[in-house]
């Protein structure tokens, strides 16, 4: 009766040859080793990411605001523009001073006056010894309308010590290219000139090397912080 109810049990009893199913140890070991491998690689990945993040963090802590610096300073080659004081603006005039340079034009109603208002504000906040070896330059890419005389009035309006400069289209193109900058001159349907220009602010070091590129928009306090950080971490021997 019992056997009828539990046929498997009866069979077990009957079949003396029965062996319990063999455990596939190989499969278990394989599974375990895969599990360990995956877990380990996950842990290593997490650790690596953490380490990388902390490294980046440390870099930031070391010199905040220096992100605008080029990987390698780029020595400028000969160029010649005319400054608003009718003297040349060339490599010699860049040497021995830090130069913050912006491409623009005087008939620009919005971005250029905004940028130079910010630069004037920044100049007021610079420590005197820093201001002493800093020059601010507007390079007009609209030489047809901007004469050195009109540039003198324009830059002088923002700060008496600011420099304005311009030159032939060829000279401007060559110079802008050296600073990874560009401009274009078009005419709108009403016949008015349209001037497009790079909006980045370029920093040139006292060895006349293109040193850093500050992205727009340019706010006084941000340009000031970046400029001081770049100067403080500067080593003239950087090749």
């Amino acid at each position: 009766m019992y056997c009828l109810l539990r046929p498997a049990c009866c069979r077990l009893k009957k079949d003396a040859q029965y062996k319990p199913p063999e455990v596939n140890y190989r499969a278990i070991i394989h599974f375990m080793s895969q599990f360990v491998k995956i877990t380990l690689s996950l842990i290593i990945t997490i650790l690596l990411i953490g380490a990388a993040a902390s490294l980046v963090q440390q870099n930031d802590n070391a010199a905040p605001g220096t992100e605008a610096r080029l990987m390698k300073p780029k020595p400028l080659t000969a160029f010649q523009l005319t400054a608003h004081d009718l003297k040349p603006l060339d490599i010699e005039r860049l040497k021995g001073k830090w130069t913050l340079l912006f491409f623009g034009y005087t008939h620009c109603p919005d971005v250029c006056p905004m940028t130079f208002t910010e630069l004037a504000q920044m100049a007021r906040q610079l420590p005197p010894e820093v201001l002493g070896d800093t020059q601010f330059v507007l390079v007009s890419v609209d030489p047809q309308r901007d004469s050195p005389e009109s540039l003198a009035e324009y830059v002088g309006y923002f700060n008496e010590s600011f420099l304005g400069a311009t030159g032939s289209i060829d000279a401007l193109t060559t110079f802008a290219r050296q600073l990874d900058s560009k401009f274009s001159l078009e005419t709108d349907p009403a016949g008015e000139p349209i001037v497009n220009h790079s909006s980045a602010m370029l920093l040139i070091d006292p060895q006349a090397r293109y040193y850093a590129r500050l992205k727009a928009p340019h706010y006084a306090e941000e340009v000031l912080a970046q400029y001081l950080a770049l100067r403080n971490s500067y080593s003239p021997d950087t090749p």
Binding site: T106, H107, C108, P109, D110, V111, P113, M114, T117, E118, A120, Q121, M122, S150, E153, Y154, G156, Y157, F158, K182, F183, S184, D188, A190, E192, I194, N196, H197, S198, S199, A200, A216, P217, Y219, A220, E221, E222
Partner: protein, 167 residues
């Protein structure tokens, strides 16, 4: 005959009513023009236009007795270049607002009749059409100011405000 002459000014007034009233619903604030260095032929002006009504308006143009021409422009950053694009018209949604601000949309005041300095005032007329193509205009006066330095924070807030009003 008497009746007609009496009614005529009233009819005229009634005809003018929509023209006067339509744009009067709109509010203009924070309007100013940037004082520019001597010798420049263009100035930028900024303002906030607010529409408390539910109807939509289109700002189709501007004029001023103090300038040869006025255009609406937008400064855009393309591929690291700063470009000025002409904006032919701007839609002002019901309960919405438009912000003309430094580095964004601005009014370009072309060829001033005389050099304008901080403290001077400019008269501007804004032209609108509403949903029924009815024309209206709004005359405003705004001061010329010498700009002070901005911060990313103040500009960002203005932008944020304009978004929240538009939606």
């Amino acid at each position: 005959m008497m009746a007609l002459t009496k009614i005529f000014p009233l009819v005229l007034l009634l005809l003018m009513m929509p023209t006067i009233n339509a744009a009067d619903k709109l509010h203009v604030h924070d309007a100013w023009a940037r004082e520019t260095p001597p010798g420049t032929s263009v100035m930028a002006a900024y303002l906030t236009l607010q529409n408390p009504s539910a109807s939509m308006y289109t700002l189709t143009g501007l004029s001023s007795p103090d300038f040869k021409r006025i255009e609406m422009h937008r400064t855009e950053q393309h591929d690291g270049m700063s470009k000025m694009l002409t904006v032919p018209q701007v839609i002002l949604n019901g309960k919405g607002s438009i912000v003309f601000r430094p580095g964004g949309m601005h009014l370009m005041l072309i060829k001033p009749k005389k050099r304008l300095k901080a403290g001077d005032n400019i008269t501007l007329t804004l032209f609108f059409t509403d949903e029924h193509s009815t024309k209206s205009s709004l005359e405003i006066s705004l001061p010329v100011k010498k700009a002070t330095a901005n911060t990313r924070h103040t500009l960002h807030n203005e932008q944020h405000d304009s978004h929240s009003h538009q939606h």
